[in-house]
């Protein structure tokens, strides 16, 4: 009983530290005072200003565009790689699997620097294309891990029984394997979308002034002086991404 209370307090603390800062930010985005003076004087001023701030809007569009393209490319490539890794055996497989993990552990700062150097060296340079390449490369290991985890619990007899019932290998994948993988695929997509949208360090290295992503733009704006417009755009992003997650979890149960 005591333990029960303790764990409730523990949970409450975690939620407090996680959500209170976000709640404060959302509230302040509706406060007319630029200097966070209380009590809150309700206003939509910052939202109006936001829609006139072309730089922030462009950066948002860049961010969403990059996140979408990254999601599509990384989940497709990553799923194919996961199928290769967890369904077939080939030479050097274990070595390649091992190589998947360092990019997750290496600091982004170092990855960002090395990508910048490498992209300049091979002539890609900076910009939208470099950003997408960088994000995709960064996201693929996550996709392989998430989709691979799902694939590991896949019963190969399901595919075999589909084949013995007359299904071609494509039909088997489409009707049997993919529906099974779908929750993993969906989880990986959301994950990649979040990674890309959230990515600052690598984006900072690879962005040009007209291909800035939102985190880079926000960082630049803060350096010039903080405006509550940033609270406003952050609030919009939070609402959009949270409702996306809620919709997904409403229509799809993550557990099997």
């Amino acid at each position: 009983m005591k333990l029960h209370t303790l764990s409730k307090i523990y949970l409450a603390l975690i939620l407090t530290f996680l959500y209170v800062p976000i709640a404060v930010m959302i509230l302040l985005s509706f406060n007319s005072s630029k200097f966070y003076r209380l009590p809150i004087d309700w206003t939509f001023k910052w939202y109006e200003l936001l829609f006139e701030n072309q730089q922030l809007i462009d950066a948002s569009i860049n961010s969403i565009l990059i996140a979408f393209i990254t999601t599509i490319l990384a989940t497709t490539i990553g799923t194919c790689a996961a199928l290769a890794f967890f369904r077939h055996s080939f030479r050097g497989k274990n070595f390649l699997l091992l190589l998947l993990f360092p990019p997750i552990a290496i600091p982004w700062l170092i990855i960002g620097t090395s990508m910048l150097v490498f992209f300049f060296w091979i002539g890609i340079g900076r910009g939208l294309f470099a950003l997408i390449l960088g994000h995709v490369a960064l996201a693929i290991p996550y996709v392989i891990i998430v989709v691979g985890a799902r694939l590991k619990s896949f019963d190969k007899a399901l595919e075999e029984s589909a084949r013995s019932l007359g299904a071609t290998s494509f039909q088997t994948f489409w009707y049997v394997t993919f529906p099974f993988l779908f929750p993993g695929f969906l989880a990986a997509s959301l994950f990649v979308f979040a990674i890309s949208l959230d990515q600052f360090v690598i984006s900072y290295f690879l962005a040009t002034p007209d291909s800035r992503t939102l985190p880079v733009e926000i960082y630049t704006a803060i350096r010039k002086g903080f405006t509550p417009e940033i609270n406003a755009i952050s609030t919009i992003i939070i609402l959009v991404s949270m409702s996306l997650l809620l919709i997904v979890s409403r229509y799809h149960k993550f557990e099997k």
Partner: protein, 353 residues
Amino acid sequence: MARVILEKITKSFGKFRALHDVSMNFDEGAFHAILGPSGSGKTTILRIIAGFEDYDSGSIHVGNESMENVPVEKRNIGMVFQNYALFPNMTVKDNVIFGLKVRKIKGEAAEKKVKNALELVHMESMSNRKPNQLSGGQRQRVALARALVTSPKVLLLDEPFSALDKALRLEMQIELKRIQREVGITTIFVTHDQEEALTLSDRIGILNKGILVQEGDPKDVYNHPVSSFIATFLGDSNTFEASIDKGIIKIDDERIYASNLNSQIDSKIIKVSIRAEKIKIFKQNEAIEDNFENSLNGEVIQSLFAGKSLTYIVRFGRNVIKVFQQNVYDGILSEGTPVKVLWKATDTIVLKS
């Protein structure tokens, strides 16, 4: 419906020889069992027939058609997997209709076939359920319906009852036999359970270490095993080292009578095997009404009560012998009782050492 002929199939996985020179005929419409301990290669045979596995040499014919270079999906062989492998994302009906859908059979024709298949296995009322809402026996019924709906030439079953509890297993065995008779399909099933194989099948093949060691009618194989491996693997046998000299068999100093002496045996050391259920046990002072050629005196060292039957372990000389007895008498012989064990000469199986 078709017969299946395996000729000299050999298959290795790396250095492990899974099958060696296995030739088997599976008759049209018959119920065949392939029996063997785990690792004997029995599942490999099934997977080779289904087309999931390649083989190194030999040939397979289904009907008159060679299966060489015929891919799995073109073989039209139904298979029921050990864990049934029902598609978890589809309902019972969608599972069963799958084989028709991928063959582009649609509409009323497909509906009718699915209905017939589900009726055959008594699952028509559950067609909208998902596999995880079914019991083990129901899943097996669905797996059978799914395998049979495309009217395959052959039905393969891989350890179909191993996931069921004992009561359900018996029920499903009876059901499977009924369905097989009704459909009349050539059926090959793989099992490590000897009782299951003997109960269900018309013919039985026994594999050991990738070699087909005996094949035939279940009664023949049971009563006339050709090796001590089969004698002990099929049923409960007492196997003893024995000597033979001029037709006289002895276990240590006890003379043993056997009616069918295998003339091919030329060594002096042989094995004799007696099935535990063919031996009668009496107290030493009891009068014996029947004529048994073999009689040994001994002492009960253990008696095990299992409801419908009793198992006695009896020591004679340096050896022990296991005896089964139906639980029809009032008294159970207690440990230490001096007893006589008796059996007929026709029940002594003489084997090469």
